[in-house]
């Protein structure tokens, strides 16, 4: 296999590459925040005029809540009643599974193709030198 000589990249294009990578990183991190995707599936199950008993707290637990600065049940209500919703959205789960599986399949297949070139050049060169 002939030894591959990469083209020289102009200074301008190196900057373009850097800007592309940085922009992509920012988009990947910033977009979910802006679009509200970064939030979690949960909601507050409201109890009117809550008491510690209604919130399911034992006397020992109440003592700790008070030490932590929660004077009454109303103050702790939103923390205690903030529940996760673990209902599975099967469509979203299947999409996610396909995206992850597709990503890794592409990754390993494309990597293998590139790797074969690396090995061919590295070890063919070595053999020629011998």
């Amino acid at each position: 296999m002939a030894r591959y000589t990469p083209p020289e990249q102009s200074r301008f294009m190196q900057w373009v590459d850097i800007i592309f990578v940085v922009a992509a990183i920012f988009l990947a991190l910033w977009l979910p925040l802006q679009a509200g995707w970064a939030g979690v599936s949960r909601s507050i199950v409201k109890i009117e005029n809550p008491t510690w008993e209604a919130l399911g707290q034992t006397p020992a637990q109440v003592e700790q809540w008070v030490k932590l600065g929660f004077a009454d049940a109303a103050a702790a209500h939103d923390i205690i009643q903030n529940k996760f919703d673990y209902t599975i959205d099967w469509v979203q789960l299947i999409i996610l599974a396909v995206v992850i599986a597709g990503y890794f399949i592409f990754l390993f297949r494309a990597s293998d193709k590139e790797y074969r070139e690396v090995i061919a050049e590295k070890f063919n060169d070595k053999n020629k030198k011998k």
């Binding site: 083209p7 590459d17 637990q61 990754l107």
Partner: protein
């Protein structure tokens, strides 16, 4: 970055990183990055599944990370190059995988660094009282990120010496707190059986335990960062396995103690809500001394973690430049301090920007997502490594036992963790994977043309089996 500069970069490249670190520094790097997870983050597992779920995943995820440490020790003690798993991927799987692994590393560590800076600012804010403005908050974040970057710029030995000291203090603080609450005498200060009852131990049932895997990662996330020091340790074959395994033992003990203290002092809903479980534990003892000690230790743990993260993210970025996966300009080594200074500086504004726009929970989730993608790679990587170079064909610094069991356990736990992240953060996870797909297409179809082929393989190994 013209041709002339590229030639200059070739010259600069000949100045290598310094081989100056020992096993203690490897321990300080790994534990330093991770220990903050005991001070914040792991407790959100209680939020997702209850206090007992947090204990179950503490040990199950401990198993995942023991597998990570075993696998990593074998591969890194053999592929001793900066970039850690990036260098492993390059030699074992292929360039595109290596590019992705480096991005996982940069994302995981930079977002972890951001989380630490936010945690420090939040902790100070919680105690500062009135008069603490948004400018003070942002000022603390900026000082932490820029100050630690300057320390990293100055030299790896000083950076990790500092990390060793502050990590040891933060770890000792947990031990002191543990003995101060008289763990041998339940009912005196600790009230485990009154905080964790049969009714509230698993409030969401077993689905909650699975969901808790997401935050359980935070008990240990970053221990694999020890491999980033591979090119700077005096003896990779000895220092990396010792440092990494000692780090895992330290963390398993620390995580179990932390759970025991916090679970015995706080109702599970509060434990899953607070950003400072150990600091709150100190407060609940009623001792001002313990509370102040945990306040200082929280900040020290976050500083140690951010410090190690800057070290690791910069080395991953530096390695990408060195192999031309990114412009070679990033691969320069400082002529005096022998650090990847351009990479260190380049990542500072990115960290600052996200520290100003993200909150702690979001930054941690970004970091965890990249970590799990990374561990998925590691499980396949070790199997390919053993297939391509079976035992006896190359010299290994360390050979991990029970292969392929750790790899299978790791892969299985990664799949469970994807599902756990999906339970609550599905859209975010999909968005992140789409990002990696786009970057992979960019690299494979465009950027890779600038990469020298055979030069990427630098290990003195025979041709891999099957090629």
């Amino acid at each position: 970055m013209s041709n002339a500069t590229a030639s200059a970069a070739d010259t600069v490249k000949k100045i290598s990183l310094l081989r100056i670190l020992g096993p203690g520094h490897v321990w300080a790097l790994g534990v330093g990055i991770v220990l903050v997870g005991e001070y914040t983050g792991w407790n959100f597992a209680a939020d997702k599944g209850g206090t007992l779920a947090a204990l179950i995943i503490c040990w199950v995820i401990g198993l995942l990370y023991t597998s990570v440490a075993m696998i990593d020790s074998e591969v890194t003690s053999t592929v001793a190059a900066a970039g850690g798993q990036y260098a492993q991927a390059k030699h074992i799987v292929g360039p595109l995988m290596a590019f992705n692994v480096a991005l996982y590393l940069v994302f995981a560590y930079t977002m972890l660094e951001v989380s630490n800076a936010i945690l420090i600012a939040d902790t100070v804010k919680a105690y500062a009282g009135e008069g603490f403005t948004d400018w003070h908050y942002k000022g603390i974040i900026a000082i932490v990120i820029v100050g630690l970057a300057a320390l990293n710029y100055r030299g790896v030995l000083m950076t990790l010496n500092v990390n060793f000291v502050i990590t040891a203090i933060a770890y000792l603080a947990i031990i002191v707190l543990f003995f101060s609450v008289q763990p041998w005498s339940q009912g005196t200060i600790l009230k485990l059986n009154e905080m964790v009852t049969p009714e509230n131990a698993l409030p969401y049932g077993w689905i909650g335990v699975i969901a808790a895997f997401h935050w359980g990662i935070w008990f240990y996330l970053g221990i694999e960062g020890t491999t980033q020091a591979a090119e700077e340790v005096r003896s990779p074959a000895r220092s990396l396995p010792y440092g990494t395994m000692a780090g895992m033992i330290t963390l398993l003990i620390g995580a179990s103690i932390t759970w025991y203290i916090c679970a015995s002092l706080m109702p599970w809903q509060y434990l899953g809500f607070t950003y400072y479980p150990l600091l709150d534990a100190g407060k609940l003892t009623g001792s001002a001394l313990l509370e102040n000690m945990m306040f200082a230790a929280t900040i020290l743990a976050a500083l140690a973690s951010a410090n190690g993260c800057i070290n690791d993210a910069a080395r991953a970025w530096f390695s990408l430049g060195r192999d031309r996966y990114l412009p070679q300009w990033f691969s320069a080594v400082h002529p005096v301090y022998r650090t990847p200074y351009r990479s260190i500086i380049f990542l500072v504004p990115i960290a600052l920007a996200f520290a100003f726009i993200a909150n702690l929970g979001q930054a941690i989730t970004f970091s965890i997502l990249s970590g799990v993608l990374h561990y998925t790679f590691m499980s396949v990587n070790i199997m390919m490594f053993r297939n391509k170079w079976p035992l006896g064909t190359i010299q290994r610094g360390y050979t991990h036992p029970f292969h392929p069991l750790p790899a299978i356990v790791l892969l299985a736990l990664c799949v469970v963790t994807y599902f756990a992240i999906f339970l609550g953060y599905g859209a975010q996870l999909t968005a992140m994977v789409v990002f990696y797909v786009i970057m992979s297409l960019w690299f494979h179809f465009y950027r890779y043309r600038y990469v020298k082929r055979g030069d990427q393989f630098t290990m003195p190994w025979p041709k891999p089996r099957g090629y």
